[in-house]
Amino acid sequence: MLFKVRELLKKVLIGSSFLLLSVGNLLPLTALSVEYAEGFSVEERPGLILLNVHPPESEGYNSISYALVGRDKFQGLTADQLRERFSIEANESELQIIRTPITQLIPLSTTFLPPLLWLDLDDVLSGVDKVDYIYSQKLRDIINKRSIPQVGNGPSLDMERIVQLQPAVVMANITQGEWNVVPKLKDASIPVVLNGDYLETTPLGRAEWIKFIGLLCGKGEEAEEHFDSMADRYTGLQQMVQAELSENTKRPKVVMNRPMNGRWVVPGGEGYMAQFIEDAGGDYLWSSDSHSSSLVLDAEAGFMKARLADLWLHQYGITSLQELSQADSRLRRLKAFQSKQVINNDARTTEAGSNDFYESGPYQPDLILADLISLFHPSLLPGHSLHYYRFLE
Amino acid sequence: MKVLDARSIHTGYRHGFRGAVTISEHLSASIFSGEVVGLVGPNGCGKSTLLRSLSGLQSVLDGKVYIGETEISHMSPLERARKISVVLTERVHAGHLKADTIVSLGRYPHSRFSGGLTAHDRYVVERSFSAVGAESLRYRTIDELSDGELQKVMVARALAQEPQIIMMDEPTAFLDVTRKVELMDLLETITRTQGTAVLVSSHDLELLMRISTRVWLMDESGRLHKGTPQDSEFKSLIRNVFRIPAHYVSF
């Protein structure tokens, strides 16, 4: 009889501790390490996780920290109280409490959507900017099936809709959030989380923000796993390139975009695309430039350099070589044009104009890198079929 | 020689789709070369409208106006300008223009299409300046001229057009007494020496009566009465229309 009581007690103990553990999501949130991204970091405190967003100072955006707190914890405490209690640095950066895991999210940028799919977070999606801006058919089906509302963005942000969707959290791009979205939302006391992936200057750094999204939605570990396997593929490719190419191997010279209205805007030498090109074994014509965002050049300066290019990447709004020459007949003189080495990143585009390169690309840099390697040094990846890129004809 | 013949005209304004407002009806009148016709009448009776209608600045609602043998509405603006020139009441807003330029513009209907002046044009301009006694004003700009000096220049311009008739709408309105007299005397001289006809409307009754060959009196209903300054019945008619007691005026 005593034995049975002991068994029963054990079961009750085990059962109730499971109950206790699962009620209110008491599973401990684990902090993740951030290796590549410079725009955010993760700290752990007893009972909460601190997600710090610190955009590069030169860009002029403010830092902000999010305290990820489980729903049942620290009820009724204000951010300042939390700050004191956990001696969170009293710098100018704001501290905001976000109750995690987020169960309803309104991502305003299409870049934030594919991670939701990969991390099985479909249910969390409760609002989007515009369905037409989305490339992924799967996402669009989900949105249409569940009649997920469209809330617009920027000046056309539908505040009423967002208020109706409360208590959803809005995830906005930090570059966009500052002056025409965030203040409006803040005024209406709607929680906003700013995602700074766009400001990252390295492909892996940008992709690492999947951990940011994962942590907010309670799938931190899954996000880390996803990222790690992707990063492994990326670094694997990177290392292969480094190994295979010697000092003497010719690296193709690369030019990007085209002149418009007398200006030729190219990505900066310290930026995202420049890094890709270098990692793929290419020679970006403006690699010595020190801008991390775009470089605005006079058309003739761009042309002078472009003449040296072997490969020409990225043509916004152009789908054929003929269109390119109609846009500016002088471009026919470029070597890359004449040898038909004009490659656009619009292989995956819908009729409405949404380009997957900008949707799933940022968090899948390994695919972009593979494409670029196969373009720059085809012998290194024989049999690779281009995913995001295609040759213009 | 008859230079202008108005045959049973109706003057007034058209208001787009709302129809017309008639001011004078069945008005007939003529002007002969070399004469000064004074146009008088109370404010608002339609003097300006008549003057504008006769000069072609406005179209008549009915009837025809003939300049010589041709009807005014069948003339091109250039042809009309060669026959009629005008002097209006308001000061011209062209401050930086020189008087010489303004009078030269009077050659518009005669000069080359580029606006350039031939020797003959320049001669006419010079003659116009001396006819009004404004030679000293020639190279001054408009904003340097007094009202009286400016009106002299405008008359010179009207002369430079070499018209058959000069029509003047209250040209002395803003001038002081001396200038008024000066200008009116000028008109009389011009008609005498150039043979141009002058039609001038004015509120300066006494002056007008002094210089006019004939007088047109318009009453409040827009009817035109014609007479001469010597005719005493006509003079009392004028006084009646204006409701002036006899002892107030010298005519």
């Binding site: 007398g262 605005v296 058309a299 | 513009l105 209907p109």
Partner: protein, 363 residues
């Protein structure tokens, strides 16, 4: 003594013209010689004056040299020519608008023509652009031609309405108001389009609004030059009636000016110039309003026989100056044209206006 005075001012005028002509030549040369890519002077001269040596494909020129040749002949020269033409066209258009409306603030954009062009371009860039890949590919000409064409059609549409209205509205001031209203309407439609468009396309449209003389190729100039040339010739024919108009519409009519016809021709010439420049260079502000005042200030006259050539020359010089300055920043960077035109022009115009002891009117 009067004769002496007259002669003196005549030499004064000729002297000033020569100076401005010289300045225009100098600025044109400077615009071609100086650019963001450094090309030594001798080379530039060589390319310009013995193009035969440089153009032949088999002349054995190195990569750098062919690059320099292409820059000079395909980028710099067209840019300088475009600036010259645009400056001339805008200045003349501004002069005409100021005389027609007797308003010193008037300019090429006063009739809403520019706004119409804006609307046309916005429609193409924001609505058709990008998404209409298939649509555009099906056309025999490309996006750029479409944008240019849309600007012309937009400007023309507004012009058509304004001309129609001007036949029936007597007062020129009312016409000005109608034009302004159309401008507001077109601009608000553009804002609406922006509101509904994706960021990428708005960016592209925004770039267009900065204005630029460098967006044209020789093919474009082959269209620009005859159109602007024809408009200028027509404008010269208008000198005489415009002078008459200085005295006011009534006096002008009494002197023989066919008012309605002249008015419509002035509007057409002004709008044609504004429309064609906007179509190829985007909306270039300030030049059209400021240059006529500059001309009036330098020559102290309202006579269009002086003002028309003066505005043409000064307009070209001003545009060239703005172009040169906008290409000053080193390492290939450039400044938006419209900022430069205003930044440079405003102090100059203010100085001219203050000096010219303006009386009751600006004429």
């Amino acid at each position: 003594m009067k004769q002496g005075l007259q002669k003196h001012s005549k030499t004064g005028i000729i002297l000033r013209f020569l100076l401005i002509l010289g300045a225009a030549f100098f600025l044109f040369a400077l615009d071609v010689f100086k650019g963001s890519v450094d090309i030594p002077l001798e080379r530039v001269l060589g390319i310009l004056f013995s193009p035969a040596d440089w153009l032949s494909e088999t002349s054995g020129l190195g990569l750098e040299q062919t690059g320099q040749r292409d820059i000079i002949l395909l980028f710099r020269l067209p840019r300088a020519v475009t600036a010259l033409l645009a400056g001339m066209g805008l200045a003349l258009s501004g002069l005409f608008m100021q005389t027609l409306f007797r308003n010193p603030l008037a300019g090429p954009s006063v009739l809403g023509i520019n706004a119409g062009a804006n609307l046309g371009v916005a429609l193409v860039v924001l609505v058709l652009g990008g998404a209409a890949g298939g649509f555009v590919a099906a056309l025999p000409f490309g996006m750029k031609a479409l944008v240019t064409g849309a600007a012309v059609v937009g400007a023309g549409a507004v012009l058509g309405v304004v001309l129609l209205v001007s036949r029936f509205i007597g007062s020129v001031t009312l016409l000005l108001l109608v034009g302004l209203m159309f401008g507001y309407l077109a601009n608000s439609l553009v804002t609406l389009l922006i509101h509904f468009s994706a960021a990428g396309r708005v960016q592209a449209y925004l770039q267009w609004t900065f204005g630029s003389f460098g967006a044209t190729t020789w093919k474009d100039i082959y269209i620009m030059m005859p159109v602007i040339g024809a408009a200028i010739l027509l404008g010269i024919l208008l000198i005489k009636p415009l002078n008459a108009l200085l005295l006011g519409e009534e006096y002008a009519r009494s002197m023989g000016v066919a008012l309605i016809r002249v008015r419509m021709t002035v509007i057409m010439v002004g709008a044609l110039l504004a429309g064609v420049v906007t179509a190829f260079c985007g909306p270039v502000t300030f030049v059209g309003v400021a240059v006529p005042h500059l001309a009036r200030g330098i020559f102290r006259t309202a006579d269009h026989r002086t003002l028309v050539p003066a505005s043409l020359l000064l307009g070209g010089a001003t545009a060239l100056t703005a172009d040169i300055v906008s290409h000053l920043p080193g390492q290939g960077g450039i400044l938006p044209l419209n900022s430069v035109t205003a930044l440079l022009g405003v102090p100059v115009v203010v100085w001219v206006l203050i000096r010219s002891r303006t009386g009751r009117s600006f004429v």
